[in-house]
């Protein structure tokens, strides 16, 4: 297989417009003759469905939630970047492009990133017109803040609910199209397989989560906007239902999976309190602006109340190790250092599985300096959230934080058109790998989801349909369709009837998450990854032998839904470890212990400046690697240093 990125050439600032001018179009009167399936209704899927419906295509949109308004984009707190330069602080499309390529640690495609930066400004216009209530200044114009260490203020926000408001904007646009009849919405419906016919993606097999009914949906093309795979770790900041089944089923049908080992760990989450914990909650990174991170210097102090530990016995490890950046070091550095101090036995908080995985984030000095009133204004809602979850009052005692998986940069490999290696199968938003390289900058996820949904896919979908014109009809009883249905039914049957049913799917998912978290999480080594690659297939066999699902497949069955998702996480988790083992360098969210220099990640541009795109071979343990070389014409790779 040859990976063709289909990037336009020429000056980078003209590439997207030249590409559009050279592309194919579908005339307005012909659009209703074309049908498009969109799976997922978050920022990318919701925006794409609404925009394609508006253009006149026949759209079917699917989501597993009971309403498209509940997709997990809704939980994004911080904001959305756009190169508007409203603050006159020297921002530009080029600077956002530059920051994003650098932030991705030189593992993304320049053309894609430039387009993302270019489209960022239109997203804000679009959202404001929809009535998204962004924060404003007293003069009535839009407010901005600096986010995630950026040197300019380019982040737009709606209190701490930016994702919610942008998603509701897309949902409202989608609602309008549902009313207009251009989009047919299928909530509580899960995609369980992709239908490939004549080498093209032509439809999906779904299960109605309310009735258990398995159905087929045929169309001219399929777009997957199904989010990321953080839940492979079991505990993550993702919603409980977030899963990788759609992308993994597509992968098994021939779509290459790119850079699975690039996952982002967010440093400021509320630590796990017990083995029953179902998810982790993120708290805004802004907390690190004023909070001081520390652990006890001595192991014997870890069980003492923090107030009882004198100043001299507190180890402010970020301030000591990184005097220039202190508590504001980048996400991966902050996360990794929390891992190191807890590995040294200095972690605090409750003991889970024999370990204390938490560090203090202390606001005592900040409250003294700023006063309680100002602290309350800045952090009151976060303090309240922390107290609601942990029962501790951050005004009186330090908060406890620990890193958690938050975002996955890897995903389905796509070309410049967001088309996967299966013609007619496209992927947008977090589900694809394209724009963030090895690490994602803060406030860029919302930007990418909406850029793909509102602006990229509406053009590239038309370009594809304009090219293929009239695809022959595909009947429901065609062998290719029936084979996919049979595969889905057989799999449901297998999950329902394990030979020695013992435990619910969570039991195995927790164990898998534990392996991936410790061996393919913040810090990875050859030894650990090889161990994981021995353990995962064993655990997977155990799962298929022993998973216990009660009830039947022909009814609403939440245990069955989870079992199917866990089964796919097993295969994806294994691929993450294989990819991490292959990448003998440290870059972005991927840190290999063997490749560092004075504790800093050591990239190897000579040998690893490529996108790793993995092909399914029929055996989860033996995927085939294809490399898309990356070239940097504009932003020359440099080394990061935060000392």
């Amino acid at each position: 297989m040859e990976l063709r990125s289909n990037e336009p050439t020429g000056p980078i600032d003209k590439r997207w417009s030249n590409h559009k001018e050279a592309g194919k179009l579908v005339a307005p009167a012909n659009r209703r003759k074309h049908s498009v399936i969109v799976v997922g209704s978050g920022l990318a899927g919701g925006a794409a469905s609404a925009s394609l419906g508006e253009m006149g295509y026949n759209v079917k949109c699917f989501c597993y939630q009971d309403s498209p308004r509940r997709a997990h984009s809704i939980a994004a707190q911080g904001g959305i970047n756009a190169a508007k330069n409203y603050q006159n602080d020297g921002d530009s499309v080029y600077r956002l492009f530059y920051d994003t390529v650098k932030g991705g640690d030189f593992r993304s495609r320049e053309s894609n990133v430039y387009r993302l930066a270019e489209l960022s400004v239109e997203i804000i216009d679009q959202a404001v017109s929809q009535g998204v209530p962004f924060a404003r200044e007293y003069g009535g114009l839009l407010a901005n803040r600096s986010f995630g260490g950026a040197q300019v203020s380019r982040t737009f926000y709606a209190r701490g609910q930016t994702g919610q408001q942008l998603l509701l904007g897309a949902y409202q646009a989608l609602s309008r199209q549902i009313e207009a009849g251009t989009v047919e919405m299928f909530p509580r419906t899960e995609m369980l397989d992709l239908i490939v016919h004549d080498r093209r993606a032509r439809g999906i097999v779904t299960r109605d989560l309310t009735t258990g009914e398995v159905s087929t949906h045929i169309a001219d093309m399929v777009v997957l906007c199904t989010g990321g795979y953080s839940n492979v770790f079991y505990l993550s900041t993702n919603a409980k239902g977030c899963n990788a089944t759609a992308v993994w089923r597509a992968h098994r049908r021939g779509a290459a999976f790119a850079n699975p080992c690039y996952t982002q760990i967010h440093p400021t989450c509320i630590p796990q309190a017990g083995p029953y914990q179902s998810k982790l909650t993120l708290m805004s990174e802004s907390l690190r602006n004023d909070g001081r991170v520390w652990v006890p210097r001595n192991k014997e102090d870890v069980t003492k109340p923090p107030e009882a530990i004198p100043e001299a016995d507190r180890f402010y490890y970020l301030e000591e190790r990184y005097p220039a950046f202190g508590n504001l070091v980048p996400r991966d550095v902050a996360s990794r250092n929390a891992l190191y101090v807890t590995n040294d036995g200095l972690g605090v908080g409750p003991e889970v599985d024999g370990e204390r995985r938490g560090v203090y984030l202390d606001f005592k000095d900040a409250i003294e300096r700023l006063g309680e009133q100002t602290s309350r204004e800045r952090y009151g809602n976060l303090f309240e959230m922390f107290q609601r979850i942990t029962g501790d009052n951050p005004y009186e005692t330090p908060m406890r934080i620990y890193p958690a998986t938050h975002y996955t940069m890897g995903g389905l490999w796509v070309d410049y058109n967001l088309q996967t290696t299966i013609p007619g199968l496209f992927a947008g938003g977090e589900a694809n790998f394209s724009d963030h390289g090895a690490n994602r900058l803060g406030a860029s996820a919302l930007m990418q989801g909406l850029a793909d949904g509102y602006f990229v896919l509406p053009f590239t979908v038309g370009n594809y349909l304009g090219d293929v014109r009239n695809l022959p009809p595909l009947a429901d009883d065609h062998p290719d369709v029936q084979a996919a249905v049979s595969a889905v039914e057989a799999r449901i049957d297998k999950l329902m009837n394990a030979p020695y049913p013992k435990h619910p799917p969570e039991h195995y998912h927790r164990k898998l998450g534990r392996i991936i978290w410790t061996k393919c999480g913040m810090s990875r080594s050859k030894e650990g990854l090889e161990e994981a690659l021995r353990e995962i297939p064993e655990l997977r066999d155990e799962f298929w032998r022993e998973v216990k699902v009660t009830g039947s497949g022909a009814e609403l069955n939440q245990t069955l839904e989870r079992a199917g998702r866990v089964a796919d996480f097993f295969e994806l988790g294994e691929l993450m470890c294989i990819d991490a083992l292959d990448r003998k360098e440290s870059c972005g969210g991927h840190f290999r212990e063997e490749y560092q220099e004075n504790g800093e990640a050591l990239r190897d541009d000579e040998n690893y400046s490529y996108v790793a795109a993995w092909d399914w071979t029929g055996n989860a343990s033996e995927p085939q690697l294809h490399k898309e070389p990356l070239t940097f014409e504009y932003v020359k790779p440099t080394k990061r240093s935060y000392k």
């Binding site: 997990h72 804000i124 646009a173 909530p187 979850i389 029962g391 969570e506 609403l556």
Partner: protein, 261 residues
């Protein structure tokens, strides 16, 4: 960090389908640590049921951080349980005492048919939104964002209304099972902003007509909705919606048609 272990008796509404009769079943939740969230407590109960070969309790959940609006259980008669301004997923077990008896029910409203156990069908909310809860703006046709200044005060008020998560607790808490708070919040959000002006009159008439067609009751100012709302959406928006509706009806006599359920 006061960690307690408590035992609870749960009386849970079990119903296999929308047209089947339902009943309370009793379960023991044993050794529940008070750091658990309410839904984690139910996860533990469910895992026990599966281990014993029984059918687990069905309930909606997703983000588990109080923003997606998926979850919602009536606990001892209170929508979302005992904690103010907190959705079920964010209620933690330290709210309860050892030996407590809890009665768990689904949202009860004719506009929200029961799907199974504690899960209800809230698609009526989506249809109210589809009737007019948007600004008709074509992708790509938006003017420059700062061309139209919006007074900070208005933007902040619009944001207050827009914070609704669409969970339906307002309906569940209302003695009339009215969807007025939900509908009013969206009407207010969009009617406050200049972007929402062109369709202002049509929007409120269509949304209210759809709300009525879905079988929700009328508002008689009990205020239970505001008290149950996890986001603190104000009852004042309902008064505003009523004013908007009168204003719209004065302006136009064209009838609006609600969609069939």
């Amino acid at each position: 960090m006061s960690d307690r272990l408590i035992n609870l008796t749960l009386h849970v509404w079990r119903q296999t389908g929308p047209d089947e009769p339902g009943r309370f079943e009793t379960y023991q939740a044993k050794d529940i640590t008070t750091h658990m969230s309410f839904l984690e407590m139910l996860d533990v109960v469910n895992e026990g049921l599966i281990e014993r070969g029984e059918t687990p309790i069905v309930f909606d959940y997703d983000c588990r951080e109080g923003i997606c609006g998926s979850c919602g259980i009536v606990v001892n008669g209170e929508a979302h349980g005992p904690q103010r301004r907190t959705s079920t997923c964010q209620v933690h077990m330290r709210q309860f005492q050892d030996g407590d008896e809890l009665w768990l029910e689904p949202w009860r409203a004719s506009g929200f048919p029961i799907v199974k156990d504690l899960m209800v069908d809230r698609s009526a909310f989506d249809r109210i939104m589809q009737a007019g809860g948007y600004v008709s703006i074509r992708t790509g046709s938006a003017p420059e964002a700062n061309e139209l200044p919006v007074a900070k005060e208005l933007a902040d008020k619009a944001m207050d209304a827009a914070a609704c998560i669409g969970c339906g607790a307002c309906v569940a808490a209302c003695p009339n099972a009215s969807a007025s708070l939900f509908t009013a919040a969206k009407v207010a959000h969009l009617s406050l902003l200049p972007q929402g002006q062109p369709e202002r009159a049509d929007r409120v008439r269509k949304m209210v007509a759809q709300m009525d067609a879905e079988g929700f009751g009328g508002c008689t100012n009990h205020g239970e909705c505001e008290a149950a709302c996890p986001k603190g959406i104000s009852l004042d928006w309902i008064a505003r919606m009523n004013r908007e509706l009168v204003r719209a009806m004065v302006k136009s006599e064209k009838p609006v048609q609600a969609r069939d359920r």
